[in-house]
């Protein structure tokens, strides 16, 4: 006897939870974000099918996991890149990260994040500067003509890192309107990362369905908020925690990428440490690293820790045999 749950149902539910931010991104950054995302998804699904064909493995594209990878990859790309940018990332994500590094079900790294890391290395300029200012007037085809470079802007974290909080306020409006805008998603950033609200709702739905547990998202977010508060200001304990978790890819990373089953631990203690590690590394990269944003690399750095955490924190045996390994 089997429960009604299936891998397909989990994966397609995650896809469903990821769609609202995509729709909103069309209104924030324009229609081309949809094209970029479709290219990314299509390239991931095609790579999965071809790879499985080559390796003579069963073709599993219908389970939705390649679609998720495609969505996530697009969501962590700036909205002003060329339409074909995601293709290389998709091939790397699926072929290298998912099938070569460990094999399906055993991949060490989150595929979408590996894809993005390759894109940053290959297109360093576009991947770190093709930001677009939010469209305020529903002219969603505005950025589809030539001349996008001319209007590119900077992300709040970039401004914060290089020019300080005053510059952020100057550029993005008063502190209170910043929180509102950033919460809904009205700020420069990657395609699918800006709407804390919609990502949070999607994440809460996954929690409600028990497809994920609270441990990883909570520990990631709390760690980032806490460490930013302690170290993120001019003096100790003056950092702006709220801004820190509303910017960058914190919500997307905490709910949808750090919780990837294959690349994260399964037990509560392991999950909490895993999440705290991601949070700490994110803050470290943001403050000390070369990039203004760090959660993507933080997750990639913690991914290989997952098997170790899994080994250290086994479920508590109900009644172990005397002398058995616990």
């Amino acid at each position: 006897m089997k429960s009604g749950e299936s891998v397909e149902r989990i994966m397609w539910t995650v896809v469903g939870c990821l769609l609202p931010p995509l729709i909103l991104s069309v209104f924030i950054f324009g229609f081309q974000t949809l094209i970029i995302t479709l290219v990314s998804v299509g390239a991931c699904v095609a790579t999965e099918a071809v790879t499985q064909k080559i390796f003579h493995r069963p073709i599993t594209i219908r389970d939705g996991s390649a679609v998720i990878t495609g969505l996530l990859l697009a969501y962590i790309i700036p909205p002003g890149v060329s339409y074909w940018t995601p293709v290389l990332g998709a091939v790397m994500a699926i072929y290298v990260a998912k099938h070569l590094l460990g094999g399906i079900g055993f991949n060490i790294f989150n595929p979408a994040l590996i894809g993005r890391a390759f894109l940053v290395a290959t297109f360093p300029v576009a991947m770190t500067s093709a930001w677009l200012p939010p469209i305020r007037d529903v002219s969603i085809f505005k950025y589809m003509g030539p001349g996008i470079d001319a209007i590119s802007t900077a992300t709040p974290l970039y401004v914060l890192k290089h020019y300080g909080i005053q510059a952020v306020i100057e550029k993005f409006g008063s502190m209170s309107s910043i929180y509102g805008d950033f919460f809904i998603g009205w700020r420069p950033g990657c395609i699918g990362e800006t709407s804390a609200l919609l990502l949070l709702l999607g994440g809460l739905y996954l929690l409600y369905k028990r497809y994920i547990t609270w441990h990883i998202p909570a520990s990631v977010i709390i760690t980032i908020a806490f460490l930013t508060w302690v170290f993120g200001g001019e003096k100790l304990f003056t950092g702006n925690s709220l801004l820190a978790i509303l910017s960058g890819g914190v919500m997307l990373g905490a709910f949808f990428m750090a919780t990837d089953y294959v690349t994260s631990p399964t037990q509560p203690a392991g999950k909490l440490i895993f999440g705290a590690g991601i949070g700490a590394l994110t803050v470290l990269i943001r403050f000390k690293g070369g990039y203004p944003e760090g959660i993507c690399y933080a997750i990639l750095l913690m991914n290989p820790m997952a098997p170790a955490l899994e080994g250290w924190f086994r479920p508590k045996r109900f009644a172990p045999e005397k002398g058995a390994v616990r």
Partner: protein, 440 residues
């Protein structure tokens, strides 16, 4: 007792109960079949040696097989008639020993003893009657009851638990037994208490059987207690609430150690059906040759709770109930979680058969299994705190021998892990394979 429902601390699942088609059906008695096939090896322990020969006449209740040495329980003729043959069985689960086939004599009069007052019997005599009746734990593996009721003197047993949880989906035999024969179950419990020389008995019943809970409470109040303390504990509906170790922890808070037995924590567990069988064995001197079974699933024309003679072929049951439906996909002996699929209906009911399920395609999952996605759900579901995902992966990787580190031998094959796995991995099959390979 308070209103909070008792339960066990870790794991468990909530499969669809599917009890609605039989839980309201009174137990019917199946007419005597023309022939019965009584397996010489029905359960845990050594197989029996036949005491009869081909062509012998036997009467209902006669001993026809006995264990010569070691653990076991004797078997009895379930009908009066003539021994037709002693030969190999078609039953694939019991290939090791033959069966006794008895041709029923339809003219024979049923033997009915008048009830005796068991209070006049000594503990030894009571235990002797249990042994002579060939009683085994009829809910599970069929451990001989007289052995279970003779714990070693150093075990300080103070509590009897009657298991009326019936947590397996579909099955309703214990439920009906408690509703229709509550006095006999409670008398049976008192007999067990007398044999053990203790006073305390808890009857654990899942809260989805509220009518049975009320009925058992009423009867336990009305019957004179003879100094015994019998209480009814409503249990949370959660599979495997009726598994011995889980039930003990739910009710007493005591935890049976790994590879330990219930008496290590001062508890003896008996199924409610076994308690009733003990009542019949002691008070009516009737051996265990009848069994209540649930026949259910959408693949059978008429679901029912049936009282059948041990040895009745499933074929006879099916034709009595109007046959199977065309969309029948799988026949399972036992519950859907722990039972096993059977390939033929030419199989007899044994002392431990609790049900036979005729399942259609929409009641089973026929999807092929996929790779482990490491969701960890099986870890959460396992009531023993094991790592079935790892066992599965190791077995697939040809490293079955290394899986005892994940608690392989603590697994009692409840099936929670396989039930919950979204990749539909046959984890219990992997575990059985690993147990064979890593066997001690």
């Amino acid at each position: 007792m308070s209103n909070t429902l008792l339960t066990f601390p870790k794991g468990g699942v909530h499969p669809r109960e599917s009890k609605e088609s039989t839980e309201h059906l009174p137990i019917e008695t199946l007419p005597l079949p023309e022939e019965v096939e009584i397996l010489l090896s029905q359960h845990f322990g050594a197989p029996c040696e036949p005491l009869v020969k081909k062509k012998d006449q036997v009467a209902e209740g006669d001993v026809i097989g006995e264990v010569e040495a070691g653990l076991g329980a004797s078997i009895h003729a379930s009908v009066s008639g003539r021994v037709k043959n002693i030969a190999a069985s078609a039953n694939p689960v019991s290939i090791s020993s033959p069966s006794i086939f008895i041709q029923t004599d339809p003219e024979a009069k049923p033997k009915v003893n008048s009830p005796c007052n068991w209070n006049d019997l000594s503990r030894k005599e009571l235990l002797g009657r249990v042994k002579d009746a060939g009683i085994v734990g009829i809910g599970g593996a069929g451990f001989p009851t007289h052995v279970k009721l003779s714990p070693p003197p150093e075990a300080k047993v103070d509590t009897l638990i009657l298991n009326g949880a019936e947590c397996e989906p579909y099955l309703t035999t214990d439920h009906r037994t408690m509703l229709e024969h509550p006095e006999e179950v409670i008398e049976g419990a008192k007999i067990i208490l007398a044999i053990l020389g203790i006073e305390e008995c808890h009857i654990g019943i899942e809260a989805n059987k509220s009518d049975a809970i009320e009925e058992m409470k009423r009867v336990s109040r009305e019957i004179s207690s003879n100094g015994f303390r019998i209480s009814i504990g409503p249990l949370k509906v959660k599979y495997p609430q009726g598994s011995e170790k889980q039930l003990i922890e739910s009710i007493t808070g005591r935890r049976v150690p790994g590879f330990g037995l219930p008496f290590d924590v001062g508890v003896i567990v008996q199924n409610v059906g076994t308690a009733r069988a003990i009542y019949e064995a002691v008070v009516l001197e009737k051996p265990l040759y009848e069994k209540v079974v649930t026949i259910s699933g959408r693949g059978i024309e008429r679901p029912a709770n049936l009282r059948v003679r041990i040895g009745t072929k499933l074929n006879d049951i099916v034709s009595f109930l109007g046959g199977t439906r065309s969309d029948l996909a799988k026949v399972v002996m036992g519950g859907p979680m722990m039972g096993f699929a059977i390939p033929t209906l030419d199989i007899p009911v044994t002392k431990t058969t609790s049900g036979v399920l005729f399942l259609t395609n929409d009641e089973i999952d026929t999807n092929p299994h996929g790779q482990c996605i490491r969701c960890g759900w099986c870890l959460d579901a396992c009531p023993m705190g094991l790592s079935p995902n790892e066992i599965g992966i190791y077995v697939e990787g040809g490293r079955a021998e290394e899986t005892s580190q994940f608690g392989l031998f603590e697994c009692f094959e409840c099936g929670c892990c396989a039930y919950t796995c979204p990749a539909k991995r046959p984890l219990v099959q992997f575990i059985r394979l690993a147990k064979m390979k890593a066997g001690k």
